[in-house]
Symmetry: C2
Subunit: 147 residues, 2 copies
């Protein structure tokens, strides 16, 4: 059975897909409760910075440094340089990653900075991204800054 | 005489300060033109992610991967993990930094990824941050996730 928080992140990704967006979702969990949820907003808000994890951090609002330090970030996809950097800025100790088969962020560097990464390789997460990349490769490349 | 683009970033920082915000500013330059401007929005928008550089990237809007690869990012302060990560995501080749005396981001790592960093050590940038940190240390620590 899938972790309820990863499921919540997948629900966010599917919400984004239903809106015509990029299907990546994220939740932030503190003390066993979801304090922020988000999904990629490139299409919906024309945003260059609201990846799912960024949207999730923003929706969680201004938190204290102490709160971040007991948080776990869930994302359906391996966090990119930007989203990994945000987790490092706030000292998030643990990230649960749905999959890193279709894209892999700077995981070795993030681990070297003391963050625990748990890679689930969830089949639904992998299929969501495979289908999306096949359907909209230019949008995907824009989202990860690749030519 | 100060670089006009660094001056534009300082103008952004001062705009933020006049709004009661954190005095850090940024501009993004492509082909000799400013395509985005921003200043820290923690206070003004209650934002956890809109550091000056992030606000600047967002104000620049959705750009093509090719555009980012000829851009220079200017910031009054050494970019933190989040903002450095965003520059890495988009393959920004050069960052001009007003100062890194009051705060230093992951500069060695950013350089190791092939980005050229130019550190100006501008006296006005240093003084803006020294004065701000002395006046509002808790807000500053929140902004950089430090307890």
């Amino acid at each position: 059975m899938r972790d309820a928080f990863l499921q919540a992140a997948i629900d966010e990704a599917q919400k984004g897909l239903a809106q015509g967006g990029i299907p990546i979702g994220s939740v932030l969990v503190i003390d066993g409760k979801i304090v922020g949820r988000g999904h990629n907003q490139r299409v919906q808000q024309g945003s260059a910075i609201l990846h799912a994890e960024m949207h999730c951090f923003e929706q969680a609002g201004r938190l204290s440094p102490a709160d971040y330090k007991k948080a776990t970030l869930y994302s359906t996809l391996s966090p990119c340089d930007m989203c990994s950097g945000t987790a490092l800025l706030y000292g998030i100790p643990k990230i649960v990653i749905g999959e890193n088969q279709t894209f892999q962020g700077p995981e070795a560097y993030v681990r070297s900075r003391g963050v625990e990464l748990s890679i689930v390789q969830d089949e639904e997460c992998i299929k969501m991204m495979q289908d999306f990349i096949a359907a909209a490769p230019e949008l995907w490349f824009e989202d990860i800054g690749k030519i």
